[in-house]
């Protein structure tokens, strides 16, 4: 197992980076803010049909490329750097990852090829365990009631995987977008690059999915940790480049501000924190493919390190730019909001540490 990128992974990183620069620069995120669209459908089509990003970690037998989690992580680093808004995390990472760990062959055959192609959008209605749906009605015609929020891409998803209390433990259910009694409300998301919704179920017909829901949800939490850590590593790198670049050209008191230790030392700490977080992301991504027994802890480590490091970095990015960094026209606030959101989505820092402590058996 190596941490450094293979030639193939480097080529993938380069092509995604080029794609982001050409097709989804930060100006396109600003267009989404104006239009209110959750993501750019043209960009999503290219990401999936042309680059095959949605199928990277889905096995070939279900229509994916079977390239594994390390390749997926490499792509997420580059997408994160450009704050690319897309259903990739909700659909291709979390929903697909959950399905793959269930035993419901019919559901896998029905849904995964569409998810891998980017033609079907799925999501996992997992929200920190605070809001849970419950099973109503009898076992022959299951239906769900309750509220789950915030759900990633909840408004756009064609199908939702909803964990619910069945009376004898948690079961995962499949709910279709057109099902009666389903209300989806788009939320005001702190981070412009995420589309979040509140899902309300009122005796909504659902299909129980076969398999160990608890194990699948635990796997999904690990995937969320790896994915958010990967995106954060990319975004943090972008903040570091942007801020050190500015510190080289902005002059005050007759010097580029990067010459002053008050500025230089904060950037040095940012670089140090990034190096440790990135190494942890590489370790988690590789463990996911090669040492599954280590994956949960490794993904937690990466997430814990980057949730804090990236948020510290966005705060410093605004601060070190000074006044210009606090304006709407500057990109610093786009990262600030992403850093804020990445810190709390799928587990606050305290919950992340609790999960890691549990996995370590403390």
């Amino acid at each position: 197992m190596t941490l450094i990128l293979t030639d193939e992974e480097q080529a993938l990183a380069d092509s995604v980076r080029r794609f982001v620069a050409e097709r989804s620069p930060l100006t396109s995120l600003r267009q989404l803010i104006s239009s209110g669209e959750p993501f750019d459908a043209g960009v999503w089509k290219q990401m999936t049909a042309q680059l095959g990003l949605a199928g990277l970690a889905i096995p070939e037998e279900y229509g994916g490329a079977g390239a594994g989690l390390s390749a997926l992580s490499v792509a997420l680093v580059e997408l994160g750097a450009g704050l690319v808004a897309s259903p990739l995390l909700g659909s291709a990472v979390l929903a697909a990852g959950t399905l793959l760990r269930l035993d419901d062959e019919d559901a896998k055959r029905e849904l995964l090829p569409g998810i891998a192609a980017g033609e079907l959008m799925a999501t996992l209605a997992l929200a920190g365990g605070r809001s849970k749906a419950v099973l109503v009605g009898d076992g022959s015609e299951p239906a769900l009631s309750g509220t789950v929020s915030p759900v990633l891409n909840g408004t756009e998803a064609d199908v939702l995987l909803v964990p619910a209390d069945s009376g004898s433990g948690t079961v995962l259910y499949l709910v279709r977008a057109e099902a009666p009694g389903l209300t989806r409300t788009r939320l005001a998301a702190a981070d412009h690059s995420r589309s979040l919704a509140r899902i309300r179920l009122n005796a909504t017909p659902a299909r129980a999915l076969a398999g160990d829901a608890a194990a699948a949800l635990s796997a999904a939490a690990d995937l969320a940790n790896l994915a958010l850590a990967s995106e954060s590593a990319g975004a943090m790198r972008a903040c570091l480049d942007m801020t050190s670049g500015y510190a080289k050209i902005r002059v005050a008191f007759g010097q580029p501000i990067g010459a002053f230790q008050a500025v230089k030392h904060r950037l040095a700490d940012m670089q140090k924190n990034w190096e440790l977080g990135y190494a942890a992301v590489r370790d988690a991504a590789r463990a996911g493919d090669e040492e599954p027994g280590r994956f949960s802890v490794a993904a937690s480590v990466a997430r814990v390190l980057l949730a804090e490091a990236y948020f510290d970095a966005v705060v410093d990015t605004v601060q070190l730019h000074g006044g210009i960094g606090f304006t709407w026209e500057h990109d610093a606030h786009l990262y600030y909001k992403n850093g804020l959101s990445n810190k709390v989505l799928f587990g606050t820092p305290g919950e992340q540490l609790d999960r890691l402590a549990d996995s370590l058996g403390i």
Partner: protein, 410 residues
């Protein structure tokens, strides 16, 4: 081929070196062994073909690659090699002589170091020159074809048993501070060399002060060129950071995650959510530092040398030590303030020692300057002293009630 090497290394270590016991992390490898035993072990290491793994064979090395060096480090981390007295000499003066020394110096000194015959120390820091080591005041004045050395060095590890030292001294005080320094080989047994132990905050004396009183340095004692000693110093400091930054951390340390976790369990503290979270965070941060070290080594194997990123490893290691000390504080509570349990006293001593790692081998502030300037490419510190002749500079510690004494040793 490296698989063979690794298997050979493992077999040799198992047969010849003691396994590392929990708690052996006070930075004094093989502290309990005598100097004679250390020399004998280094000689045995040399005979077995594991000394100077990457050094050329003509200077006593094995002529192998970084891959074998990394294999060796990985295998050796589980053992307590009783040759700590040679660590500084081999990694710092040794590597520097290999890079900038004369052919005669390489032939004379390198094989003797590898065979365990001669121990070396590094003499850079002075009471008035720490982070700003280029403001050093020890002087070497021309006398015939050699030099006469006067001044004081401090924080010198191993000076009490060293045979030679690599010393920085000022050879031209009329030049700007970086341009009037030379590096010499000084015979630590020469007349005029006095070594005194330096007691630190923990009560131990891991370092020394070294005084030079008219010590003669022969003509062939100059490393590199006269007045080009700063360039040689930069080479040595780079080797120092790499040696410290990529040192394989021992698996167990009383301030490490495993030890603190079992201490916490023993004290019934792991039911406290705050303590559980602190321990989990310590685990995460330790892994981050460990994985970054691994990444640097992989990059080195792939031909990308760490360069100034060695400073990232050094800074991260010191930060981790500080964090671990804080976690220990949370875990042990007021038992740290006073205890008759030896285990807790060891932890308390290490907490007292923790600030040292953010100072030794270049302070964290200097590491941040290096990262900012050489990794991120930020503008250099606006120093006022780069072009001023040294003898017109204010250096060291100065009080307003005492007139400045430019360039004179205190």
């Amino acid at each position: 081929m490296t698989e063979d090497f690794r298997a050979r290394a493992r077999a040799w270590l198992e047969a010849n070196a003691p396994r590392r016991a929990a708690g052996d992390d006070d930075g004094e490898s093989g502290a309990a062994t005598t100097l004679a035993e250390q020399k004998a072990f280094q000689a045995k290491l040399y005979d077995a073909g594991f000394a100077g793994i990457t050094w050329p064979t003509e200077y006593g090395g094995q002529g192998l690659t970084n891959a074998e060096q990394i294999d060796w480090s990985r295998e050796a981390r589980d053992y307590d090699l009783p040759n700590g007295a040679f660590f500084i000499g081999l990694s710092m003066p040794g590597n520097t002589i290999l890079e900038v020394g004369s052919e005669a110096q390489k032939k004379r000194y390198l094989p003797a170091m590898l065979r365990g015959e001669e121990i070396w120390c590094q003499l850079f820091s002075e009471p008035g020159a720490g982070s700003d080591v280029a403001s050093l005041q020890t002087s070497a004045v021309r006398d015939g074809d050699g030099w006469v050395l006067n001044g004081q060095k401090v924080w010198t590890s191993g000076a009490q048993y060293s045979d030679f030292g690599a010393v920085l001294a000022r050879t031209d005080p009329a030049k700007p501070k970086h341009e009037g320094i030379s590096m010499f080989i000084v015979d630590m047994h020469a007349p005029g060399v006095t070594v005194r132990p330096l007691k630190v905050a923990t009560g131990h004396s891991p370092f020394n002060e070294v005084f030079f009183d008219n010590v003669r340095i022969p003509a062939d004692g100059l490393i590199g060129e006269e007045n080009k000693g700063w360039a040689a110093a930069v080479v040595m400091l780079r080797h120092e950071r790499i040696a410290i930054g990529t040192m394989s951390a021992p698996r167990t340390s009383p301030l490490g995650y495993e030890s603190l976790r079992s201490l916490a369990a023993g004290l019934g503290r792991t039911d406290d959510q705050a303590v559980r979270r602190r321990l989990a965070e310590l685990y995460a941060r330790s892994r981050g530092v460990q994985l970054f070290g691994l990444l640097l080594r992989e990059e080195a194997m792939a031909g990308r040398l760490p360069g100034a990123r060695g400073s990232v490893a050094k800074l991260a290691g010191s930060d981790l030590g500080r964090f671990a000390a804080n976690v220990a504080l949370d875990v042990l509570g007021d038992q740290l303030a006073g205890s008759d349990a030896e285990e807790l006293q060891t932890v308390a001593t290490l907490i007292v020692a923790a600030p040292g790692s953010a100072i030794a081998g270049g302070t964290s502030e200097i590491q941040r300057n290096i990262i900012g300037e050489r990794v991120l490419g930020l503008a250099k510190d606006p120093g006022v002293d780069r072009s001023t002749p040294f003898n017109q500079l204010r250096v060291g510690t100065q009080r307003s009630d005492v007139p400045a004494s430019s360039g004179e040793p205190r």
